[in-house]
């Protein structure tokens, strides 16, 4: 086995096509940066370049589905090319593209240096893409750092606002701290298994050098990834950071980095720490992480929802709701961990990716409206500010209600399909602990109805006492709303194709294409 590994090192398969989507986004980011230094403050141009880059990348990604020419394990096995990578990459590109559209309002209003902003966003996207595609802990770490550093800066982009500074500072310090845990965990795993490659690790967990190291390392990884995915008890940074960060960035952070964190998290745990029947160390590890994550999922959902009920600020409410949603996504994650066959595992991974997609489309839509209504310096973000706007701005209000109902998981919306899909693998296991987990998730959904509906109630069932000027909807924002609204319905009603595609790894897609 070692010789094979060495051969890989000596003669790495440097297939550029395997990392083409990442390359394109990185190049687009560089062009934006360069363009900005020669012709600064060209909002439309830099935004357009970024969007085009994302679109081309998405197109390339699309061709990679079912394309057998791309080596399954390129770059010496450091780049994976499976459904996990492809589907999560798609989510990341989608989130970035919509974020660019949404933030036009904000960049204009706050006079933000857009060149920096767009290039940072592009590099953050590169980070997310590598977090999805990395099949080696080193690549995952690099991706995560690329993403994090870009996000730290973006959170503090509104330099004159103290809240924004606080947000960036908190995010940076706590984020670095958690990265330390992550890195330490990776080192310990390397010590236990002798490799940083996920595939190698998966083979080695059955018979590791030091089983204890493996367990401690895994625990460290849970802390590190848990922080990035904002799961309880590693969530405490979320509300402050989300509230303080500029609204479009908050929307981005809640959807994109969270999805990327889930991609890496799942790759390491589901694919890297599988259950090898009969091997004591593997069984112990698998059992431990499944149980730990189950408890974490329950806590995440419950704490997120209960805390969300008492919020009076819409952004904070959405922050806690995003914590709760991380909990729901964990249900599918755990389902993937306990899946009996590779097919079912892939389906479960796809369900989490789909869940993140539905969450992204809904959440971005909600943040688009919150951004629009917020006005300068995020002044209007309290629940009171939404009093009685229902029939004054019917389009915005009904759209926001739709997003709330989708977050709640009501049928015919994306949120419903997402929930059904992530609950499915967990129930399939027939494990009573997981069944309880699903019931907890469902009860939590009912709890969440209270605060999601509260926004609807405030908008429609109350009368406005202060005057109200309906904001003007700019073209990019209208596009973003159109994409998110139709996305909510499309994913809720016609999700058939996407789910199928998400659960196909390329090699199997070829087999399907033949018939």
């Amino acid at each position: 086995m070692n010789t094979v590994f060495l051969a890989d090192l000596v003669n790495p398969n440097t297939s550029l096509s395997a990392i083409l989507p990442e390359m394109i986004v990185a190049i687009a980011g560089t062009i934006v940066m360069l363009y900005d230094s020669f012709a600064p403050k060209q909002r439309v141009v830099t935004g357009a370049i970024s969007l085009v880059g994302l679109l081309i990348s998405a197109f390339v990604l699309y061709t990679m589905w079912g394309n057998a020419d791309i080596p399954a394990n390129a770059w010496g096995g450091m780049i994976a090319n499976d459904n996990l990578r492809l589907s999560f990459s798609f989510v990341a590109l989608f989130v970035s593209a919509v974020t660019i559209l949404i933030s036009t309002v904000w960049t204009e209003r706050e006079n933000v240096p857009v060149g920096e902003y767009h290039s940072l966003l592009m590099f953050a996207t590169v980070g997310m893409l590598f977090m999805a595609s990395g099949n080696d802990m080193v690549i995952l770490f690099l991706g995560l750092e690329t993403l994090s550093i870009a996000t730290y800066v973006m959170a503090g982009l509104r330099k004159s606002d103290l809240r924004s500074n606080e947000s960036a500072m908190k995010y940076f310090i706590l984020g670095s701290f958690s990265t330390g845990f992550l890195l330490y965990g990776m080192a310990l795993i390397y010590g236990a298994t002798g490799s940083t490659n996920i595939t190698e690790i998966a083979l080695a967990v059955a018979n590791p050098n030091f089983p204890a190291l493996l367990l401690i390392g895994a625990a460290m990884l849970v802390i590190g990834f848990g922080f990035k995915a904002a799961t309880v008890p590693f969530h405490v940074w979320t509300p402050d950071v989300y509230e303080g960060a500029p609204t479009p960035i908050t929307g981005f952070m809640a959807a994109g980095p969270k999805a990327a964190a889930f991609a890496s998290f799942m790759r390491v745990f589901v694919l890297g720490f599988p259950l090898v029947a009969g091997a004591t160390a593997s069984v112990a590890l698998h059992e431990t992480w499944v149980t730990a994550l189950t408890v974490m999922a329950m806590l995440t959902m419950t704490v997120g929802n209960i805390a969300a009920i008492v919020q009076n600020n819409v952004k904070r409410m959405l922050a806690y709701s995003s914590i709760a949603h991380a909990g729901y996504a964990l249900v599918g994650f755990i389902g993937a961990g306990v899946a009996a066959t590779a097919d079912k595992r892939d389906a479960a991974i796809a369900s989490v990716a789909f869940y993140m997609l539905t969450y992204a489309v809904t959440n971005l839509g909600a943040f688009a409206i919150v951004t629009l209504l917020a006005q300068k310096n995020d002044r209007r973000t309290e629940f009171e500010d939404y009093n009685g706007i229902g029939f004054r701005s019917p389009v915005l209000s009904f759209a926001l209600s739709l997003f709330m109902l989708s977050l709640l998981g009501l049928p015919l919306t994306a949120g419903f399909m997402g929930k059904v899909l992530v609950f499915r693998p967990a129930l399939e296991a027939g494990n009573s602990l997981l069944t309880i987990l699903v019931v907890v998730a469902v009860v939590n959904t009912a709890i969440s109805a209270y605060y999601y509906l509260r926004l609807v109630v405030v908008m429609f069932f109350r009368e406005r006492t202060t005057e109200w000027l309906a904001p003007r909807i700019s073209l990019p924002l209208a596009a973003a709303l159109l994409i998110t609204i139709s996305g909510v319905f499309y994913f809720g009603i016609f999700s058939d194709r996407i789910i199928e595609r998400f659960s196909q790894s390329p090699p199997r897609a070829v087999v399907k294409a033949e018939k």
Partner: protein
């Protein structure tokens, strides 16, 4: 035709959606709200007409027993299909929905002023969702519609509701959503149990059912229990079964009139429909196991709902609580696990939809005029609004379950079913099924008490509140609105035989009556008719005998029998009044008192009779039955009017102030009669059994004389029935 047949249900579901789009379009481009209601009304009426096709075309019948089936793949990854179809269980609920909607729309003609476009859009979307619930045969699709129906209702209550609307709307939503979410878990659970058992996961109800029947799939032990309760809880909250009913009075009271009507008429039925379709269909063992709990809860609901209704100061709240009681009957009938009980439950669902829907409409009418719903604000309204009063009283009678109005068939069958049920055990010589039936019976009496009391307080007596003097009676729009409901209420009972051949068949076959097949009899030349006639003789003897006795008692005291000499006697002679009222009820034929069994059977017999000829396409037997039915209503009117004038109100005649109530001798005299009235109403079978042999003997002779021709005529005139007999 096939193309239409296959897509008919889809058209039904989608038409209101198109209506909603048209409404939005109209609101956007014309900016005037006058046309909105016409568009909405047009679409709902069109939908009703389309739904009538369901009754006529059965060419698409499938092996599963579902008509108008459509089954296309929706999301292949999780093997869920858009699968719709109707059968005998759902067809009437679909038509009830499409029937109620135009009425609900017209009821808002003037009531909704603000944001009319949104109102009609939500109303139309609600119709879509409700129709979807009743026709879905895929569990996931069912769940989808079940939940989707919450949203429009939430907005309807929240935006156009009363003072406390926000609280009511949120409570309504959160309560019902919690229940249905657990059902979602169970639905996904079913998918995997099926996958485990057969290798293919499915949400398809028909597939699941056939796997269960074939023995490929079985739910055992705690799994079955959990699945059962996950489904049951969702539906119990929706129905609502006591103690999950607390959202209902709030939602009903705060909702706009159209919302209350739809809520009562259709949305509550989604719960009972779900129990019947899914809990009974998928978990028959668990259903039997836990039937006791449901029966107890149903009876608590019946009695509790009635008692709480009695003390409500608000008319709308009163009607809302009466819904709790009525739905208790539906649950009771279902869990009796007798065909009759279930038919009764199904029937009761429809009745409740019509009668309670009409009541909410009527409350809405008066609210529009006076902007109050407190009973104490009214009084003596009959003097200023005679038409309104008449219709209200008839509707109330239907709601109470007066024979020949729609309510009583449902209640009758329900209780008959419960009586013969074996769902509850027999311990220590006590058959708890009998006990349950009797308790439910008291609920009927309570219902009569609180509804009539309300009627009395609102409509009769002097006009006490000066602002009521200027009330205008119903206008043509309102009359047109309520007329179909009342009309259906009246002829419903008479039409039983025609619209629901199963009910007739059941009564005929029923173990209580042991009446056997439909045969020719005494006047109607049907055995049923003869039995009924015999029984009616007995009843008449007892009830009328008792009435004469009672009149005698008062004559002894006052030496007058003129109604005008009395008034307000209830105040001085409470016991006398109580017994008098019960006897009157028996005489009117209130279910559960002896009179109604006889009347019911008689009219059923007449309906199926061939004694009268069919000329020019008119079956005169039907006409005769209907005429007889109006007689029952008149009886109710005059008897109750008499009761009202004699007993209620202030004591007008000073010489009545000194009247003494019944003494022990008189009580002892009348008690056995009252007992018999109740007993014969509750348990007619000893009487019917006894008379059966002789009746059959007479009937045999008659049939032999009149020979085959007549019998064949029966068969041709009752085509639907013979076909259902073959089913057996």
């Amino acid at each position: 035709m096939d193309l239409i047949g296959e897509n008919l249900l889809t058209i039904l579901i989608l038409l209101p959606v198109f209506g909603a789009l048209a409404t939005i379009g109209h609101a956007l481009f014309w900016k005037q709200e006058g046309g909105l209601k016409w568009i909405t009304l047009g679409f709902t009426v069109l939908n009703f007409l389309v739904s009538l096709f369901l009754l006529f075309d059965k060419s698409t019948a499938s092996v599963n027993g579902f008509f108008f089936e459509k089954n296309v793949s929706w999301i292949r990854a999780i093997n869920t299909n858009y699968h719709v179809g109707v059968d005998g269980l759902s067809i009437w609920l679909v038509i009830l929905t499409t029937f109620i909607m135009p009425i609900a729309v017209v009821s808002t003609w003037r009531a909704v002023e603000k944001r009319a476009a949104a109102f009609y859009v939500f109303l139309l979307l609600l119709e879509s969702a409700m129709l979807g619930v009743f026709v879905s045969l895929d569990l996931l699709v069912f769940y989808l519609f079940f939940e989707a129906s919450l949203v429009p209702m939430f907005f309807l209550i929240g935006i156009w509701g009363g003072q406390n609307r926000v609280y009511a709307a949120v409570k309504f939503f959160v309560y019902t959503a919690l229940g249905s979410l657990l059902m979602l878990v169970a639905i996904i659970g079913l998918y995997y149990l099926h996958a485990q058992a057969t290798g293919v996961g499915t949400f398809d109800y028909v597939t699941l059912l056939s796997s269960l029947k074939a023995g490929n799939l079985a739910f055992v032990g705690p799994t079955a229990t959990l699945l059962f309760w996950a489904f049951a809880l969702a539906f119990m909250i929706k129905v609502p079964v006591f103690p999950f009913h607390t959202w209902l009075p709030d939602a009903h009271t705060e909702a706009p009139t159209a919302g209350s009507v739809i809520l009562a008429a259709v949305m509550l039925k989604m719960g009972t429909y779900g129990l019947m379709r899914f809990n009974f269909g998928l978990f028959p063992e668990a259903s039997r196991e836990f039937a006791g709990i449901f029966i107890v809860l149903a009876i608590i609901g019946i009695i509790y709902g009635a008692l709480v209704a009695m003390v409500q100061p608000d008319v709308k709240r009163l009607v809302a609580y009466s819904s709790v009681a009525h739905m208790g009957f539906v649950i009771l009938g279902m869990f009796s696990f007798t065909e009759m009980g279930m038919q009764g439950a199904l029937y009761q669902m429809l009745n409740h939809g019509i009668a309670t829907g009409a009541l909410f409409l009527l409350v809405g009418f008066i609210y529009e005029r006076r902007h109050t719903r407190a009973i104490s604000d009214f009084g003596g309204i009959a003097n200023v609004m005679p038409i309104y009063t008449t219709i209200f009283v008839i509707t109330t009678m239907a709601s109470i379950g007066l024979p020949f109005l729609n309510g009583f068939v449902g209640e009758f069958l329900t209780m008959l079913g419960m009586w013969t049920s074996t769902a509850l055990p027999i311990t220590g010589g006590v058959n708890w099924n009998y006990v349950a039936t009797m308790l439910a019976g008291t609920g009927v009496i309570f219902a009569a008490v609180y509804l009539l009391w309300m009627v009395q307080r609102v409509f009769f007596g002097k006009v006490t509140n000066p602002s009521n003097k200027t009330l205008t009676d119903l206008n043509w729009r309102e009359i047109g609105l309520i007329a179909p409901l009342v009309f259906i209420g009246i002829i419903y009972g008479a039409l039983v035989a025609m619209v629901q051949p199963d009910v007739k068949r059941l009564v005929a076959y029923s173990s209580v009556a042991h009446m056997g097949f439909v045969i020719l009899g005494m006047f109607s030349f049907t055995e049923m008719g003869m039995q009924g006639a015999l029984y009616q003789m007995l009843n008449h003897g007892i009830a009328t005998g008792a009435l004469f006795l009672l009149v005698g008692f008062i004559y002894e005291r006052r030496h007058t029998r003129a109604i005008s000499d009395f008034g307000g006697i209830a105040n001085v002679m409470p016991i006398y009044t109580t017994i008098f009222v019960i006897t009157t009820m028996a005489s009117i034929g209130l279910p559960f008192l002896n009179g109604f069994v006889g009347e019911f059977l008689t009219m059923l017999g007449m309906w199926t009779s061939t004694a009268l000829p069919i000329t020019g396409g008119v079956n005169w037997n039907y006409v005769a039955t209907m005429l007889a039915g109006t007689g029952v209503i008149f009886a109710a009117v005059y008897l109750l009017w008499m009761v009202q004038r004699v007993f209620f109100g202030k004591v007008t005649n000073p010489s009545n102030k000194t009247l003494t109530d019944l003494n022990w001798r008189e009580i002892g005299l009348i008690a056995p009669l009252v007992f018999l009235m109740v007993f014969m109403g509750v348990y007619p079978s000893p009487f019917l059994n006894r008379s059966r042999e002789s009746v059959v003997a007479i009937e045999n002779r008659l049939t032999r004389q009149e020979a085959g021709g007549e019998i064949e005529k029966v068969e041709t005139s009752l085509q639907p029935q013979t076909s259902t007999n073959e089913h057996r």
